[in-house]
Structure formats: structure tokens, C-alpha cells
């Protein structure tokens, strides 16, 4: 009897460890919010509970909050794989400095933004780089580490130490050019007209849905509907949990054609019904 139970117990423990590890890795969530500092309305980008970037000015036709949203999305993408200290660097962009993770521009720092913080673009970009590294649990090189007060939420990125940012900024050759254009292109992308997709089909199908949340793991089924050709491609539904500011929890449902880490969305298909059961509580 005991030997019979051993296998399922070991499997359950293994699953528990894997799920706990997954939950731990997803712990540092990126979010953004509007906040007030020194009597002015600013937008903050946070990793976990820590504000790492504070935006005070508009750029490329976007408000600070809209810029924070773009920056947060870029950080989320960059954090999909582990970030090393050397991955986060400061480089030149036309009319300013850029903060890069690997070769991807995270945020461009222009003169107006830097002036609003009472710093130079290089100093501010360097401070934000250090804030990101600290929020990710990395050691910041001593000569470029910001004093503790400057990383506190109320102090934030207001007084970037110039010597810190100048410690090791890569040259313009080390990072791609055209950061500002890239940011403007990304912003324009958000406003791009959607392609025409047939959403009028009513073929239906039940597919598995899997979600992993902090409260536990749930498995279940989702009923998807759409044109027959698209429905045939659907293999499952991924549920993504996103936090909207501190007031809402968003559960996004993505019908996918493959069960993999990449979301291959099947267009023209939407969710009509959901049924799930909690299989594991944390």
C-alpha cells in the first residue's frame, strides 16, 4: 500500500516544486502607475514594489503615463529571460541617452526629461539602470551605486548622481542607433489600424485551459467560437494574469494554435465560456 502511494506522492511533490519555482520566477512583476511627487503628477514604472523609472515629461506625443506603459511592456519582454548585469546599459540615441537591455531600447532620456529631474540625460539613464539592477537583485558596481535615499519611492529618480551614470556607459557603437525613432515607431505601432479578420463564424469547440496564479493552479476547459477554419487550429487557451494599476486584475484569454511558451494566437476566435477546477492551492 505504502509503495503504491510513493509514486504519486513523489510526482505531486515534484509538481509542487516546479510550480513553486515558476511562481518564484514570476514574482518580480512589472507595473506602472500615476503618482504625485513634489506636487507634480508623474508616471512610475515599478519592478515588484520598487519604482525604477519615473517619467515627468511627455515625448513623441505621449503623456508620461502612456510612456510608462510602453516602457513597462518593454521591461516585461526583456524580463522574459534572465537579465545579467552587463545586459543593462546606457547608450546614445539622437538627442539624448537611451537605456537598453541587451539590444532593446527600454526608454529614451531626452534633455527635457533630464532637466525635470535636475540631472543630465546620462546621469538619469545611469540611475534608472542601477534601479533596475537593484530591483532585479543584482549588485550594482560600487562606484555607480546610487545612495539608498535615491532609490526610495519618495526620492526615486530625482537626483541622479552624474558620476554614477558616467561610470560605465557604453559608447554609441555598442548599442543600436535610432532609439528615438524606435520609440516613436513603437508608439505608432500601438495606434496601428487592426487588420481585417473574420470574427463572425460561430463554429464552437472545447479546448483545455491552464492557468498558474499565486493562489494556486487551475485547469479546465474553455469554449471557443469563430470561423470553422480558425477553430480547427485552436489547441488550447492560455490565461494571462495582468495587474492594472492597483485596482484591477485582468485575466486575458488567448486561443493558441500550439502548446508552447510562445503565444501563437489564432485570430478570429474568442472565448464564450469557461469551466475550471482548482487542482493545487498555494
Amino acid at each position: 500500500m505504502r509503495r503504491r502511494l510513493r509514486v504519486p506522492i513523489v510526482m505531486a511533490l515534484g509538481l509542487l516544486v516546479a510550480l513553486a519555482a515558476a511562481a518564484a520566477f514570476s514574482g518580480a512583476e512589472v507595473s506602472f502607475r500615476s503618482a504625485e511627487r513634489d506636487g507634480a503628477r508623474v508616471a512610475e514604472v515599478l519592478i515588484g514594489e520598487r519604482p525604477v523609472i519615473v517619467l515627468r515629461t511627455s515625448a513623441a506625443g505621449y503623456t508620461p503615463l502612456e510612456r510608462a506603459e510602453i516602457v513597462a511592456n518593454r521591461l516585461r519582454t526583456a524580463m522574459a529571460s534572465e537579465i545579467q548585469v552587463d545586459d543593462v546599459k546606457v547608450g546614445s540615441v539622437p538627442s539624448g541617452q537611451g537605456l537598453y537591455i541587451r539590444d532593446q531600447l527600454v526608454v529614451a532620456v531626452y534633455q527635457t526629461e533630464a532637466e525635470a529631474h535636475g540631472a543630465t540625460p546620462a546621469a538619469l539613464a545611469g540611475l534608472w539602470r542601477d534601479n533596475i539592477l537593484l530591483a532585479l537583485g543584482h549588485e550594482v558596481p560600487e562606484e555607480s551605486a546610487p545612495p539608498a535615499a535615491e532609490t526610495a519611492p519618495q526620492e526615486g529618480a530625482e537626483e541622479g548622481p552624474e558620476e554614477g551614470a558616467e561610470a560605465a556607459p557604453p559608447t554609441a557603437q555598442e548599442v543600436p542607433e535610432g532609439g528615438a525613432a524606435e520609440e516613436a515607431a513603437a508608439a505608432a505601432e500601438m495606434e496601428a489600424e487592426p487588420e481585417e479578420v473574420d470574427w463572425t463564424g460561430t463554429a464552437q469547440k472545447w479546448v483545455p485551459i491552464f492557468s498558474l496564479e499565486r493562489e494556486g493552479a487551475r485547469v479546465g476547459m474553455a469554449q471557443v467560437a469563430g470561423p470553422t477554419d480558425q477553430i480547427d487550429q485552436v489547441k488550447g487557451v492560455y490565461q494571462l494574469r495582468l495587474d492594472f494599476k492597483s485596482i484591477g486584475r485582468v485575466y486575458a484569454y488567448v486561443p493558441v494554435s500550439t502548446i508552447s511558451t510562445k503565444l501563437n494566437r489564432v485570430q478570429g476566435v474568442s472565448v464564450w465560456a469557461l469551466a475550471d477546477i482548482k487542482v493545487l492551492g498555494f
Binding site: 467560437a225 492594472f244 472565448v271 477546477i277
Partner: protein, 144 residues
């Protein structure tokens, strides 16, 4: 005499209220009233922001829906109140007609089942009129 009249009036109003609640099958509490009002307010205040937040978050994962989207309140069938919000997706002309998503939810032990019906009406009265060519792409729970 005046005091007696006052007591009678209060009792009559209370009975009338209880009677109405019983007829409509409502379980009224101050918390419910505040929550329903709060959700309606949040949806009207943040619908565009939530819509663009979801779209851009999915866009970063190359999983955004290529269609029109809109955030509308979720009405709980039977409860008659707003319980959250949903992002609906579909063709632009159909999405523009959607006023709410009617939710029918059932719970069984640790399991739950949800039917989500985009409708062109904003009251959970009678049979929901399903908006054709529109589906739900995200559900938003407010922390009230």
C-alpha cells in the same frame, strides 16, 4: 400619537422594502450596493485605459487580437448588478453595439463554470440577446 404614527410609517417602509427584495430575489447588503456602484464607476472611468493596457500587454507578446476591442461591464444574471468588466473583441460594427457582457456563473466545490455572453443591452433582464460576431478576450476583476 405622533410617535406611534412614526413607528408605523417606518415599519411600513421596512416591510415594503423587504417585500420588494423578496419578490426580486435580491440579497441586499450595503457591501453589494457599494460594490455594484463602484464597479460601474470604475468601468466608466477606466474603460479606455484598461482596453489599451490589455491590447498593448498582449501586443508585447505578439498575441494581440486583430479586431476592434472595447471594455464593457459584466452583468451577473440574476443578481442584476455589475460584477466586473470584460474586453470584447470582434468586427468594429459588432463591437460598437455591445453594451455589456452577461455572466452566468456556477460553482461546484472548488470548481467554477462561467458563461460569458456579449449583449446589446445593459440590463440583465430576461434572456440575454447575444451580440453576433463578438467574443470575450479578457475579464477584469476590480479589487473593491
Amino acid at each position: 400619537m405622533t410617535a406611534k404614527r412614526m413607528i408605523a410609517l417606518v415599519a411600513a417602509v421596512a416591510l415594503l422594502g423587504l417585500g420588494l427584495a423578496a419578490v426580486n430575489g435580491w440579497a441586499i447588503s450595503l457591501g453589494d450596493v457599494l460594490k455594484v456602484g463602484g464597479v460601474a464607476l470604475l468601468v466608466s472611468q477606466y474603460d479606455d485605459q484598461i482596453d489599451s493596457f490589455i491590447t498593448s500587454a498582449l501586443g508585447e507578446r505578439e498575441a494581440a487580437a486583430k479586431g476592434a476591442t472595447k471594455v464593457v461591464p459584466i452583468l451577473s444574471l440574476g443578481g442584476g448588478g455589475y460584477v466586473g468588466a470584460a474586453q470584447v473583441v470582434g468586427s468594429p460594427e459588432n463591437v460598437s453595439r455591445v453594451k455589456a457582457v452577461v455572466q452566468v456563473e456556477g460553482r461546484f466545490g472548488s470548481g467554477r463554470a462561467q458563461l460569458l455572453v456579449p449583449t446589446t443591452i445593459d440590463k440583465a433582464a430576461g434572456t440575454p440577446d447575444r451580440a453576433k460576431g463578438v467574443g470575450v478576450s479578457a475579464v477584469i476583476e476590480f479589487q473593491i
